[in-house]
């Protein structure tokens, strides 16, 4: 008979580490999906997920069962991704001259007629990935959670551990930062 999540967690806390495996198997797809939103290379993604699970094992005592285990785990995953972003800040001031031809074409279509540039085009996806990579870790996290995942400010505050006013301030700054990056792309290409 399959054991419930609460039973598995209780068993792990009682010293039966093997009971942790079903939890890893069940929630790894969600952890990987979260990690892939913040990191590109598979090796980095695996490192993040590994860290999330090791942290989850170490801090399982702090899980009080008030909220679903999944929420607790996702909070840990997002915080680990944020730590990863802070630790791997790439050169975000680099030029955009390296944007690919399809991206350029998509931008040209957008400039000519915004309605004709489809959001589901691969070039648009590549471009937004590029823009997100140029953002600061705080801005990227906020844009990802607030704009892309459509989470509320309160939810973000719970996930990140930041206060609600801080989330609002950072969201304002993040939108500004994104606008600046977009302005730079268009300035380099179309001025």
């Amino acid at each position: 008979m399959e054991r419930s999540e609460a039973e598995l967690i209780a068993a792990v806390l009682a010293g039966d580490a093997a009971s942790f495996e079903p939890l890893v198997a069940k929630y790894s797809p969600r952890v990987f999906a979260t990690a892939r939103r913040y990191a590109r290379r598979e090796s980095e993604i695996e490192d993040i997920c590994q860290e999330v699970w090791l942290k989850a094992f170490d801090k399982l005592k702090s899980f009080r069962g008030e909220a679903p285990f999944e929420h607790w785990l996702m909070r840990m995953a997002v915080r680990t991704c944020y730590d990863f972003l802070r630790g791997h800040q790439r050169n975000r001031v680099s030029s955009f001259s390296e944007i690919s031809e399809p991206e350029e074409d998509w931008l040209e279509r957008f400039v000519a007629e915004p309605g004709n540039a489809a959001e589901d085009a691969d070039a648009a996806k590549m471009l937004i990935d590029r823009v997100l990579e140029k953002l600061s870790p705080e801005a990227r996290l906020i844009i990802q959670l607030l704009e892309i995942e459509d989470r509320s400010v309160k939810e973000i505050a719970v996930i990140t551990g930041w206060s609600v006013p801080l989330v609002k301030v950072r969201a304002f700054r993040a939108r500004g930062e994104m606008k600046k990056i977009l302005a730079r792309i268009t300035k380099e290409k179309y001025l």
Partner: protein, 103 residues
């Protein structure tokens, strides 16, 4: 260029990207192996931690005693007296008046 519109389009493009939730083969086995390896080294960590704590306590005691010996007012210098006493003791027999010689 309509930047807010471009921003909206790109955000919409990002929303359309389904997050890839593929998990590498036997990932959970790897995690379990790591946890097992960690618990094996935990015994060494336990001893290492204990020994480091003991070392820290020893250093603290040494520092306290060092400080006490440095800050304690120096005792009056009795080295001369001691040497004098030593000399007197040593030469006491020689200093005795020679009463054994024949009159």
């Amino acid at each position: 260029m309509n930047l807010p519109e471009l921003q909206k389009k790109l955000i919409a493009a990002a929303r359309l990207q389904p997050p890839d939730d593929r998990v590498p083969y036997a990932f959970e086995k790897r995690i379990m192996a790591q946890l097992a390896a960690r618990s094996a080294t935990d015994h060494w960590v336990f001893w290492a931690r204990g020994l480091w704590r003991a070392a820290a306590a020893c250093v603290a005691v040494a520092v306290v005693f060092g400080a006490v010996s440095l800050l304690k007012p120096a005792a009056p210098d009795n080295s001369n007296d001691l040497s004098q006493d030593f000399e007197n003791t040593l030469l006491a027999s020689a200093d005795l008046p020679d009463n054994s010689s024949p009159p």
